[in-house]
Symmetry: C2
Amino acid sequence: MAERIRCKAVLDRVMTADQAAMLIEDGMTVAVSGFTPSGNPKAVPLALAEQVRSGQRKVRVNLLSGASTGPEIDNTWAELDMIARRVPYITSTALRKAVNGASEQGVAYLDQHLGMTAQNARYGFYGPIDVAVVEAVAITEEGNIIPSTAVGCTQTYVALAKKVIVEVNSIQPEGLEGFHDIYMPADPPHREPIPLTRVDQRIGKPYITCGADKIAAVVECSLSVNPRPLAPADAVSQAIADNIVAFLKAEKAAGRLSAGDVPLQSGVGSVANAVLMGLEKAGFEHLTFFSEVIQDGVIRLLDAGCADMASATSLSMSHEGMMHFKENLESYRGRIVLRDSEISNGAETIRRLGVIAMNTAVEADIYGNINSSQMNGTTIYNGIGGSGDYARNASVTIFMTASSAKGGKISSIVPMVTHVDHTEHDVDVLVTEQGYADLRGKSPKERAALIIENCAHPDFRPQLRRYFGRACEASHGAQTPHILDEAFSFHKRFRETGTMLEPNE
Amino acid sequence: MAERIRCKAVLDRVMTADQAAMLIEDGMTVAVSGFTPSGNPKAVPLALAEQVRSGQRKVRVNLLSGASTGPEIDNTWAELDMIARRVPYITSTALRKAVNGASEQGVAYLDQHLGMTAQNARYGFYGPIDVAVVEAVAITEEGNIIPSTAVGCTQTYVALAKKVIVEVNSIQPEGLEGFHDIYMPADPPHREPIPLTRVDQRIGKPYITCGADKIAAVVECSLSVNPRPLAPADAVSQAIADNIVAFLKAEKAAGRLSAGDVPLQSGVGSVANAVLMGLEKAGFEHLTFFSEVIQDGVIRLLDAGCADMASATSLSMSHEGMMHFKENLESYRGRIVLRDSEISNGAETIRRLGVIAMNTAVEADIYGNINSSQMNGTTIYNGIGGSGDYARNASVTIFMTASSAKGGKISSIVPMVTHVDHTEHDVDVLVTEQGYADLRGKSPKERAALIIENCAHPDFRPQLRRYFGRACEASHGAQTPHILDEAFSFHKRFRETGTMLEPNE
């Protein structure tokens, strides 16, 4: 461990997780490293939870992170009702229940664009940060921090926090040093252009600037990570992936920007992995990625020589993927770079590079508005995450969803979405297993025809056509025909009868 | 006129507007210079309309512009049903009626973020551009174009068009030469950082690059402009302005970014003008503007020495304002710069500079979603314009609206907006004449309480409180409580009874 804690000045602050957890007090604002279940601290959060569980202390805090966290924080703390406010994203089941009403004391959850969290923290929108807890693979001689498998907002949180607790986790490979590129922009009016013009370019430092003085505690640990399980692609996912690949091939044939010309942003999950495999099969070459997360499929494309480079803010792989990465770590040096989420999800960088964005919708409406977060406009699932950062700034914005859910009882294409995360102004292409609708340059009424015929499930097409037809009549051909009394009729029918299908279908 | 048409190679292409209009054929895609009723060509569009009106020709085209146009194009052409497709924005009454169903042949209107129009045109999303028609104050020796009072997407349209028609308008002051800063970014993967770091910085050329070869026609004209009338601020507008100024003063006092530290983006109209006057009165100094349009109020602040600098893509003033500007033109040289709308409305530039954005909402809901374009989710008024470019990238995003409309019969604060142009994720502050709600860092339920109590009209507060209370109960405290069956009940009541007020109020 001595070679990981290289800063002599902090050696007197090495302590147990239990001791370090005592630095976190009730009512504080705590910020943690990491992004998704990757790179977050584990020992101190678990120790704190144990202090609360055992009745030793009462601690309830405001929690900031890069995105969601591993179960050691969001899930464990939510089960003990230890989270009063939460920014910017969640995926934990326990925390989801808590923000949707299960918490006795209530959790104020601000669901926010992940690319703006660091900036908004610096602008003072969340108030002062009391403690930052950071997972590291090492502390440098000067007291700076080498992060582990994710960056997120850690540099900003360390810069703003009054005290920093560093967890040096010996499970995380020390060889990750050199994979990070840390760049925190100055704030207006002194901000300069972010100099990034290529996915493989380094613009910052390989460590998070901290300094020994700010480090209040160093905790040694060797807690293993809790990676995402990787679901295999089913037939529907595969068909969605095939349609996306077909679109990208058509773009290439038309001489427009496509995969291989500009970087791809690809979300998490089985569809995303299937798209990647499809691109390889279709003969795309020299792929690059400018994403939030690097998941198993990206690693496989790097291995196959089909992809040249991947930039992200987080390594978020399955257990098998992570083992493979660790074993072959040196082969990825220079081909993987981990950046601050402010850069990976930055409006400036995404628009400049011309990223093609692929994200998942919960439901889409016939005019191209996307709900990516809330059931019945009311109950939040995860949140908007980084999808809005990419959707708003990509060269081409693709949203994908299975055309139906719950065994065909729910149509993912509805007259009007019950919550809008991405507006009609930002959605270029909608893809389901049925096909794709290219919405670029189209008016709302043209989009409706395309979405119903190309994307909706055939079972729901007749009733969608009828709604659209009657809305056009009722509105005398207005820009975006709607019958407000029936805009949510699909949702109502499901609630009342258990299916969105009309009885005569 | 000889000193305005300095390029000898185009002298043989000087012709009448009627002759030049013959270059525009049925089915073509036509792109015009300008942004708002400013800087658009006039003689050729009017001549073309006359050819159609007289029955000499049948011409129906796809029309691209920077934003809306003066009445010579949108209004005149819409009255003759000459527009088949329209991108990206409208304000004309005749065209509004046409896109909402009055056109016999239908108008496909794509309502789009103004900062993305040029890029999307270059990406090929609207197909090839046949003719660009450009208003100029002069043509340089090399055949380049000095635009008039607006830039918009003109550089991109000229670069993409097969033929260019230049209208040299002797009414527009030749002294405008030197006010423009034309910069068209390269497209990915070759795009470099936009080097702009200060509002007063010049990064491009004082002319639109064209070349004599591309100029198919030069038309001399002296048609006067049709500026916007300027409405005086009524008591409600003044109260909204006072509340915005109060917010900005509170920001300054709290040590956060405020007016004078970072540039302001300010929309068009009487509220915007009242805000500017309020800032002067409140003692703000060294104001700068990074906006789409420069209107009368900005000129007055420059005159008063309270503002240092204004950057925009359009001079869009009242008749009196424009007369005053022309008479004192030299005093504004170096203090006003006119940029491409891709730069004035750019994600990169707005976020870097930390612009504070102030835009108008048609309606807002209790959770902070904003409708800025569509009545009953159906009938479009103008469009999203540039509001999304600023809202998504500003350091602080402010939306304003009067709390009620139609003599108190419509509440601008509703349970759910019928169309979302700006999502809850992008709205920082909501302002009405009743007060302001600071939504930063707040969860949806916290926002609802603030918006109802601080922003809604007192007449509507009881029924908004009841909706919110019952929705909280029905959803058992979920993230964003809604009762879908009643989400549009305010709109339904207005339709059925002529007022949104509940009978027992």
